[in-house]
C-alpha cells in the first residue's frame, strides 16, 4: 500500500487560504461594492434639536394636501439662515453656495425608495420616526452614506462587518427599508399587506 501524503503541505496552507477567502468575501468585497459618500453640507441635527430646541415637525411636516414635506427646501432654511448665524464653516458654505445662489442642496436620502413604492407619512403619523429612520436627531455629523455601486441605493449605512450589515449602529443610517420589514410591521399591526397598499 502507498501511504497518502499531502503534496501541498498539510492543514496550514488550507487554513491560510481559508482565512484569505474570508477576508476577501467579508472585508474586501463589500468595500468594492459600496462607495462612501458624504452629505454635501455637514448638517447638525444636534444644533437644531438640542441647542435651538426645534421639533422634528418644524422642518419635516405634513402638507395640507396630505403629502409629506420631506427635507426642507433651501427657501425654508433661509427663513433663519438668510445670513450666516454662527461660526460653522458648513453653515457659511450653505449660505454662500445655496441660499445666495437660490439652489437646492442635493441631500442624500438614506431611506430613498424605488419608484414603484408608495409610502404615506400621513398614515404613519403615530409612529416614532426612528421606527424606520436612523436616529439622526442625535447626530452632529450626518452618517456616512454607503451607496451600492450597482443599484445606487443606500446600503444602507449598516456598519459592514464581516461582509454583512451587522446590528444597527446609531452612528449609521438604517438604510433603505426592505419589503419584508414593511410587511412584517403591517402584519403585526393588523394592517393590510395588499400589493397596492405599498405599490404604485
Amino acid at each position: 500500500m502507498v501511504k497518502k501524503t499531502s503534496s501541498s503541505g498539510g492543514a496550514l496552507p488550507f487554513f491560510v487560504g481559508f482565512v484569505a477567502m474570508l477576508f476577501v468575501g467579508w472585508w474586501a468585497f463589500p468595500r468594492m461594492l459600496f462607495s462612501e459618500v458624504q452629505q454635501p453640507i455637514r448638517f447638525s441635527h444636534v444644533v437644531h434639536v438640542e441647542e435651538q430646541e426645534m421639533a422634528c415637525e418644524d422642518c419635516h411636516f405634513l402638507n395640507e394636501d396630505g403629502s409629506f414635506n420631506g427635507i426642507p427646501s433651501t427657501a425654508s432654511c433661509a427663513e433663519c439662515h438668510s445670513d450666516v448665524l454662527g461660526e460653522d464653516p458648513d453653515e457659511a458654505k450653505f449660505v454662500e453656495q445655496y441660499v445666495n445662489e437660490e439652489k437646492e442642496v442635493e441631500w442624500l436620502v438614506y431611506q430613498y425608495q424605488p419608484d414603484n413604492v408608495f409610502f404615506s407619512h400621513a398614515a404613519h403619523q403615530g409612529k416614532d420616526c426612528t421606527t424606520c429612520h436612523p436616529d439622526v436627531a442625535k447626530s452632529d455629523t450626518p452618517p456616512t452614506y454607503y451607496q451600492n455601486k450597482l443599484t445606487d441605493y443606500s446600503n444602507g449605512g449598516y456598519k459592514i462587518v464581516f461582509g454583512r450589515g451587522v446590528g444597527v449602529d446609531p452612528a449609521y443610517s438604517r438604510g433603505t427599508m426592505k419589503m419584508w420589514e414593511c410587511e412584517r410591521c403591517h402584519a403585526e399591526n393588523g394592517q393590510s399587506n395588499a400589493c397596492y397598499v405599498c405599490h404604485r
Binding site: 403629502s67 404615506s120 400621513a122 403619523q125 393590510s192 395588499a194 397596492y196 404604485r200
Partner: protein, 273 residues
C-alpha cells in the same frame, strides 16, 4: 366559485354612453397621468405588419366605436370607452404565475405590480376585455417630456404587462389628505378621489365613486334600468358599468345574437355580490 373577496368599499365607474362624443380626452388624460410614452415604433410596426392594434398599442383606456349596422338614415353610432373593468371575478388574477396581479385590497381595484411581472402575458390572454397591454419596447420620452412625468406613477420597463388601475395613486393621496384633515380616509366624500379620465371628460359622461356608498352618485346610477355591464353573462362581475337608453347599444354590450331575447332593462343583471 367565489374565490374573491367582497370589500366594504367597491370603487365603481359608470359611463354614460349617450353622453360620450368619442373625443378621446379620457384616453389622453389617462396616458398623461400614467406616464405612457408615445410609441412611434409600435405604430410603425402596426402599419407595416398589420398586427391587430389592440395587442400592440400601449393604452389603458381605449375608445371603441359602435355601430347599429343599419344602412342609410337609420344608422346610429355610439362610443364606448373601455378601461379595465376591475372584475369582481378577474380571470387575469387566477392565471398569473407570479402573483404580480391581485385583487386583495379594499376598494376592489385589481392591482398590477410591474417589477414582479415577468411578461408571460397569460393575463392578457385571459382578459375578455383586452384591457391589458404589453410593453414591447423600453419607453422613450421625447425631449422635455420626462419633466412632465407624474411622480406618483412608476414608469414601466420593457417586458411587463400594464393596465388601468382606476388611477389608484389618486386614491392614496385622497386618503392622505383626509388623514391630515382629521377625516376618515375610508369614508371619502364624492369626488375626493376621481380618476384622470373621469376628471377630464368634457361632457361628464364618466361618473366615479363607491357603488356601496349611498351618498355617491354611482350608487343610484348602477340601479338604473339603462345600466348594463360588458359581457355580463361571462360572470366576471365588472366594477365598470355602462348606461345607454338605446337598446341596440345594451345588446351589443353583451354580444346578443340578432334573434336572441333580451337583455331586459333590469339594472345590474343580478350577478352583483
Amino acid at each position: 366559485m367565489s374565490a374573491f373577496k367582497e370589500f366594504p368599499i367597491r370603487w365603481g365607474m359608470v359611463i354614460d354612453i349617450d353622453k360620450c362624443t368619442g373625443c378621446g380626452a379620457c384616453t389622453v388624460a389617462c396616458n398623461k397621468e400614467n406616464n405612457i410614452a408615445p410609441q412611434p415604433q409600435q405604430l410603425e410596426r402596426i402599419a407595416g405588419k398589420g398586427f391587430p392594434t389592440r395587442f400592440k398599442k400601449l393604452e389603458w383606456l381605449t375608445v371603441y366605436e359602435l355601430s347599429n349596422g343599419v344602412q342609410g338614415s337609420g344608422h346610429d353610432t355610439a362610443y364606448l370607452p373601455r378601461p379595465c373593468m376591475q372584475c369582481g371575478m378577474p380571470s387575469c388574477v387566477s392565471v398569473c404565475p407570479a402573483t404580480a396581479t391581485d385583487k386583495n385590497e379594499n376598494g376592489g381595484i385589481v392591482s398590477q405590480i410591474y417589477p414582479r411581472c415577468f411578461g408571460c402575458r397569460y393575463c392578457m390572454a385571459s382578459c375578455p376585455y383586452h384591457a391589458r397591454v404589453f410593453n414591447w419596447d423600453q419607453p422613450v420620452y421625447p425631449d422635455g417630456m420626462e419633466k412632465q412625468l407624474t411622480p406618483n406613477v412608476s414608469v414601466r420597463s420593457r417586458g411587463v404587462v400594464e393596465k388601468c388601475n382606476f388611477c389608484h395613486h389618486r386614491w392614496m393621496y385622497a386618503k392622505d389628505a383626509a388623514r391630515v384633515a382629521g377625516e376618515d380616509p375610508n369614508a371619502l366624500p364624492e369626488d375626493a378621489y376621481i380618476p384622470a379620465c373621469a376628471e377630464a371628460c368634457p361632457t361628464g359622461a364618466i361618473y366615479f365613486g363607491d357603488v356601496k356608498n349611498p351618498e355617491h352618485k354611482v350608487y343610484e346610477l348602477i340601479h338604473s334600468p339603462y345600466t348594463f355591464r360588458l359581457l355580463e353573462r361571462l360572470g366576471t362581475d365588472p366594477q365598470v358599468y355602462y348606461m345607454s337608453k338605446r337598446e341596440w347599444v345594451r345588446r351589443q354590450g353583451d354580444n346578443y345574437l340578432e334573434n336572441e331575447a333580451g337583455p331586459v332593462a333590469h339594472g345590474n343583471g343580478g350577478l352583483h355580490g
